[in-house]
């Protein structure tokens, strides 16, 4: 072994790749043949390649599964032509999209326009790096995993805004403006709901959060689960919060002008996003890989729980109409926001009173919390639901239908 | 409750009191008025409590070669009666009639359509543009001499 830094040192849990056994194995293999730094690079590349391909393949499977499921929900068949149950449909779609002409509209900002699909896909891939797919199997188990995910996944919205601006299309601009408005609205309640999770788990590392879930957190913090689910619907641009690409209103929103391979990448990012968010929900609220024989079958439990998340999203998508932009903001600020604050307050108080001297929570403590929080969730959702219902209804009733015609340039006073 | 058709004579006599110059003749089904006074007639028929024609069903234009005929089908919702007002417009170069846009807003598209396809201009319509065909189209297709 000619390496200056031994694998053992570098692959310790404090090291860059956080004890990934596959990395260790590849690194050891390569180090016999090539210089140490090259072995390190090779091992890293291989493992990233595996992850990227897994995520994109997963996105393809999600796209097929979603269309099949939607078909079932809607009394139709869905794609069933190529492959068993039409499972090869994504390949056909991809082939079609890749071979199509790649149009950049006249007057578009070429650089920004081209960068958008890349940003969307790469931010998705970067975000998946911290998800533990099975026991101790994560590309990297960051100790600020939750923060990392929040930061990276918000990049998508910036990409959407860039797309809307760069497309030189007014529908795209509408989509971009809406996306930003929605981003600002849902981000705060989502962060607050995740704070509750972090408080109970006592760590921001996703691996630790899974371990901390002796009782799955969707039971311990139903409110946080609810808020997170709603917020993630908004992040994924899914009904009832899909205003940014509202098909019936603004064609396709920000990706109206995208075609060919760029459109394929955007679609991959969207379906991959659904996969990623479902994985996140599985990790944060459904106890991730935990389950019977977790050492060996952790990946199976993780996949099953991820599928539950995807199914939930497809179900919601196929059922609900869309809210209007102002209604979404009202829901986020006046409904989800108080709910997440209530959740955070309740969790903080419970943790303060229930934890033992060393600051840890036992399983029975978690069950007690679950019991209390269930009641809190039902009461507060019913209470705030009633209020928001009145507010939204009243707001649409009192809107004036006969605004005067405005000609020329209206101005908005600020400050 | 069924609909009754107001005879042209009743309409004609009623109109003669209000606008004596407007009425030309009547038969059992309709009353003929001068094209330039359709607006006045319409206003009277809508507001008069006897006729109460608040609802304009349709405006039709017919090309009889010597003249164009405008046919207004009217309905009173409260009194449940219908009436027909007609008007002959002479001249093939610049035929024109008074608009009823200000009386019945529903005449908007119909008058524009008649201008577009039949070539009768309605004076007083705020937006007398072609509706089905594009601006600059040559001729008016529904005329009998359009080939």
């Amino acid at each position: 072994m000619r390496c200056i830094t031994t694998p053992e040192n570098m692959l310790s849990p404090e090291g860059a790749f956080g004890g990934n056994p596959l990395f260790y194995w590849i690194y050891g293999l390569a180090a016999h043949l090539v210089p140490c730094w090259l072995a390190y690079v090779i091992a890293g590349l291989v493992i990233m390649l595996i992850l990227i391909n897994a995520v994109l393949l997963g996105a393809a499977i999600v796209s097929w599964g979603e269309r099949r499921l939607l078909g079932r929900f809607q009394n139709r068949v869905g794609p069933n032509r190529w492959g068993p149950f039409g499972a090869l449909q994504p390949i056909a779609d991809l082939t079609k999209l890749i071979t199509k002409e790649d149009i950049i509209p006249y007057g578009a900002d070429r650089l920004a326009f081209t960068a958008v699909p890349v940003i969307m896909v790469s931010s998705l891939l970067v975000a998946t790096a911290v998800i533990p797919f099975a026991k101790d199997v994560a590309l990297v188990d960051l100790n600020v995993g939750v923060l990392f995910i929040l930061a990276v996944s918000s990049l998508t919205s910036i990409a959407i805004f860039t797309a809307g601006w760069a497309s030189n299309n007014r529908y795209a601009l509408f989509g971009a403006g809406r996306a930003v408005a929605v981003l600002i609205s849902y981000e705060v309640p989502v962060v607050l709901s995740l704070l509750g999770v972090v408080v109970v788990a006592g760590s921001m590392s996703l691996g630790d959060i899974v371990v901390a879930q002796a009782v799955p957190f969707f039971l311990v913090q139903p409110l946080a689960f609810f808020v997170f689910l709603a917020g993630m619907s908004a992040e994924l641009n899914r009904t009832p919060f899909d205003v940014a690409e509202a098909e019936s209103e603004i064609i396709a929103g920000y990706h109206t002008e995208y075609s060919g391979i760029k459109f394929a990448l955007i679609q991959a990012a969207e379906f991959g996003g659904a996969l990623f968010v479902s994985g996140l929900i599985a990790t944060l609220f459904l106890a991730g890989w935990a389950g019977p024989v977790a050492d060996w079958l952790g990946w199976l439990w993780f996949l099953i729980k991820t599928f539950i998340g995807i199914f939930l999203f497809v179900w919601i998508r196929s059922t609900f109409p869309r809210l209007r932009l102002d209604q979404i903001m009202a829901v986020c600020w006046k409904f989800l926001m108080p709910l997440s604050i209530i959740n955070l307050a309740a969790v903080v108080l419970e943790v303060y009173f229930l934890r033992d001297a060393s600051g840890t929570l036992s399983t029975s403590d978690l069950w007690i919390m679950a019991g209390i929080n269930m009641v809190v969730a039902v009461v507060s959702i019913a209470f705030f639901g009633r209020i928001i219902r009145q507010k939204i209804r009243n707001s649409s009733r009192t809107m004036t239908a006969s605004a005067p015609m405005v000609r020329g340039v209206p101005t908005i006073e600020v400050g | 409750m069924t609909l009754t058709a107001v005879p042209g004579e009743t309409l004609g006599r009623r109109l003669q009191e209000a606008a004596p110059d407007a009425v030309i003749e009547w038969d059992e089904s309709a009353v003929w008025v001068r094209p330039e006074s359709i607006g006045t007639v319409a206003n009277f028929l809508r507001n008069d409590s006897e006729t109460d024609f608040v609802f304009l069903n349709s405006i039709s234009a017919i090309d009889f070669i010597e003249y164009f005929e405008l046919v207004y089908h009217l309905t009173s919702l409260a009194k449940q009666q219908t009436g027909v007002v007609r008007s002959r417009v002479y001249g093939r170069e610049e035929p024109s009639a008074a608009s009823v846009f200000n009386v019945w807003r529903g005449a908007d598209f119909q008058e524009r359509e008649i201008w577009d396809l039949m070539g009768i201009r309605f004076n007083g319509h705020p937006n007398m543009k072609r509706i089905m065909l594009w601006e600059g189209f040559d001729g008016h297709p529904l005329r009998k001499d359009f080939l």
Partner: protein, 368 residues
Amino acid sequence: MTIRTEPMTVNVGPQHPSTHGVFRVRITFDGEDIVEVEPVLGYLHRGSEKLAEERNYVQVVTLTDRLDYTSSMINNQAYCLAVEQLLGIEPPPRGKYLRTLTAELQRIASHLIAVGFFVQELGAFGTPLMYTFRSRERILDLFEMLCGARITVSYMRPGGVFSDTPPDFWPALDQFLEDFEGELEEIENLLLNNEILMVRTRGVSPLPADVAINCSVSGPVLRASGVNWDWRKMAPYDAYDQVDFDVPIGSNGDNYDRFWVRMQEVRQSLRIVRQCIAQIEPGPVRLELPLVLRAEPGAEAYGRVEASKGELGFFLVSDGGVSPYRCKIRSPSLINLTITEHLLLGWKLADMIVSLGSVDINMGEVDR
């Protein structure tokens, strides 16, 4: 500090996923608020009225199919009524009942489309639309049994209908009615009390009754504004004086009312269909008429029906020839569009699509 903002003019249509065909409306937005509206029509103009002058009275029936292609039966009916008025004839009772029955089935189909697309435009991804289309397909299958066509039926003729029903039509109709009961209930459960649907449509784009009347609006849009006016009640044609049905009336004239009125009308149409089945008796379905019809010179007739979109009228003028001298079509969709500006001004982009959908226009009929 003042930030200058600019209004933005957007062409909605003619290629837009939810403008019901090739309707185009030029809208100026201030942010998401609508400040100026200008409908632009004519992309589907085929000159039906001119074409009708070149065809004989029976051939024109095929032109009427292509007006509002979602309710061609009712178009046939309106035209045939006008021709019958012109000739002074009346179809035999069985013909009348068959017309009423098929027209009501067509109304159900048309309203199902209207409701399905209305909810689709609210953003429900396909599910309600597919539910409504499931039932509509069954109705089209029934039409196929009657006349071999699903959309462009040309089933009715002046003096009755084209032919009697095939023997397997009645069991199929019974089966459909039985199934449709459950399917309709499913759709109603899904939509009528849907919270998001109510929030999005209640109080949005209200149309007061006086405005509706002044704009010559007709059909479900007029009734949603609270005006009790249905030509099937006011001037009964065909077998409508023999059947019993209610006319659903809205109160606010907002988008929800327009949607609600259509949902209720489907129920009433079902009632009429049931009564027609009970009352219909064997007999001839069509008068013996010469192949080429001729009316008296100078004869005129205005035949009108309550079509699914509103009052559909045919104004026929005869010069004694084999084809109408003038065939004016009073199309409900075109005249209902008069209220576009009233409905849209001051509302938001998202409401625009829904309001247009709630008027339920059909471009084949608007442009003719």
